[in-house]
């Protein structure tokens, strides 16, 4: 672990990544304290002060009903992070289990599971999520379900490949020879060896989940107002370009910063844990 910290500290880019994420996470966590207008995350209308450019009072300007954009972005971060965490918390266990079972059991089990995975993977992710959101009503919960449905197959493919390699290792054979249960071999012997790769992918994916979720909201299939959401803000603001640039630029930058942070850190992790994909 010390080595990890040392390596992170030895690279300016991974420091930058960690700092970005720290800033994003902290501002999300302390949105209540940091936001100059905490109530602007909900329904507030102020038609005397709408669509205003950045000023001292409203650091990032105001939106079309007069709400402080900076406050809303802080709350949007909170939502994005929660969404990302929930999606991964749902998708990873499912994907990992499927991959483990498929890789370890082999035979027709593997055929059925991996071909099912392929079916999901061969529909472009956004199309799949859109189709699901088209069916379900666009709410935060359904958004998470849709993104989860498109996300687990990546983990099952990753873990499947890792399992295939690990299955041949001596320690697995050894465990089998002593008569350990299949469950034990899969989850106690093989799984721990897959953890670094899974962890790396999760860090990178946290960024990408935020990306996909914002793309869904961009298409109007995500979180509903008045809840602040970065993708919807960009989509809505894009209509008012270039005159009201702040409506798009700040939420767009906010997405960029968060995802960039996770990517930088994930990239560093990949080298530290030696999990080149």
């Amino acid at each position: 672990m010390n080595r990890a910290v040392q390596i992170i500290l030895s690279r300016p880019l991974s420091i930058a990544g960690s700092v970005l994420i720290a800033v994003v996470v902290l501002s999300a966590a302390m949105a209540d304290l940091l936001a100059p207008f905490p109530d602007h995350r909900g329904t507030v209308v102020d038609f005397s002060n709408f669509n205003q450019p950045p000023s001292r009072q409203n650091l990032m300007g105001t939106d079309l009903v007069g709400r402080d954009l900076f406050s809303r972005i802080l709350y949007a971060y909170r939502l994005s992070l929660i969404l990302g965490a929930v999606v991964l918390a749902l998708a990873v266990p499912v994907g990992v289990t499927v991959g483990l079972v498929a890789g370890y059991f082999g035979g027709w089990v593997r055929f059925v599971l991996m071909r099912t995975t392929d079916v999901f993977l061969s529909i472009p992710p956004l199309v799949l999520a859109m189709s699901i959101m088209g069916v379900l009503e666009p709410t935060l919960t359904n958004g998470m379900i849709a993104v989860t449905v498109m996300w687990w197959p990546w983990y099952s493919r990753l873990v499947h490949n890792l399992t295939l390699a690990e299955r041949e290792e001596g320690y697995v054979l050894a465990a089998e020879i002593i008569g350990a249960s299949r469950f034990h071999v899969m989850f106690r012997e093989i799984l721990p060896n897959c953890v670094p790769a899974i962890l790396t992918k999760m860090t990178l994916d946290l960024g990408f989940v935020i990306l996909i979720a914002s793309s869904l909201s961009f298409l109007g299939l995500g979180v509903q107002p008045p809840t602040p959401d970065l993708g919807s803000m960009v989509a809505e603001g894009a209509q008012y370009l270039p005159d009201s640039w702040w409506l798009t630029v700040f939420p767009g930058l906010a997405i960029l910063v968060a995802v960039f942070g996770f990517n930088l850190l994930g990239d560093a992790l990949r080298e530290i844990l030696g999990t080149e994909q």
Partner: protein, 341 residues
Amino acid sequence: MSAVLKLLAGRLAISLLVLAGVSMLIFAIARVIPGDPARIALGPNATPEQVEKLRQELRLDQPIWLQYGHFLSDLSRGELGTSLYTNRPVTRDIAQFLPATLELILAAGILMICIGLPLGIVAAKNEGGFIDNLVRVVSLLGVSAPSFVWAVILMILFAFFLPLFPIAGRIGTQFDVPQITGFLFVDCLLTGKLDALADALWHVALPAFALALSGIGQAARLTRANMVETYRRPHIEMARSYGFPEWRIARKYAFRPSLIPSLTIIGLDFAAMLGNAFLVEAIFAWPGLSRYGVAVILRKDLNAIVGTVLIISAAFLIANLIVDLLIALINPRIRHGRDRS
């Protein structure tokens, strides 16, 4: 070569199986849509009889497995039903809109390869150096923003503040290119209208670049990683020990082997681009299949949803088949069967 054919046949069989799975999945998804598509399509003033008539035409009154059977038999005759969005056969819509999307994605793919790979190579050659880090930051940035953000940024910068590029459509209104294949570039070439071709390329530049940015980042990162890895392999040192020129080593000994994993990811990126095209086409008013896809999903246009998703998935599977074929051509291990080692 027979090994390649065998491999391809196997892949094709699996692809067809997967496609069948996709059709079932999307069919099921499309049919659980709440609300009555017939009612939606006919608008507010339709009589119950009209709605019932359309429901029967759409076979919505039948159980889902029967509907799927009809769908398959229609499909075997090359029919996908009528779109309630355009009131035209879905196959005709797809035939009209798909070329625009393919052209956009192809252009983006070319940009991705032509920019991403060299960036990756340059970075690998300067491993750990300033250029390497610069490329890393640039490519990570490319991956870090959704293509719609890039599309908006590019449009603002290069179409509004610096009016260098057109922002809407596939070609300027002054050109009149007859539709032969539907592929504008090809049609321009066939009719010998080179000025129109230039204009069409000018139009595709910004949307393709917006679409390609994340792919460029991916390709550069991956190529770099693979090149670095390949450069550490013994055969590079051996080549050096024989004093082969560096560029030759880079090309023949480092790049070609590292292209294999890169190609796989480029194939996967095609899927991402097909999806992201949804966002970019909307912004650049690109009359493609993706924009059609968004519209029909929002309108719960069953036939069109199923048709679009099937075609996009098929395009993705074909792209992957092509990648597999390319890899087989590059990698003798596959070309000559893997079991002879």
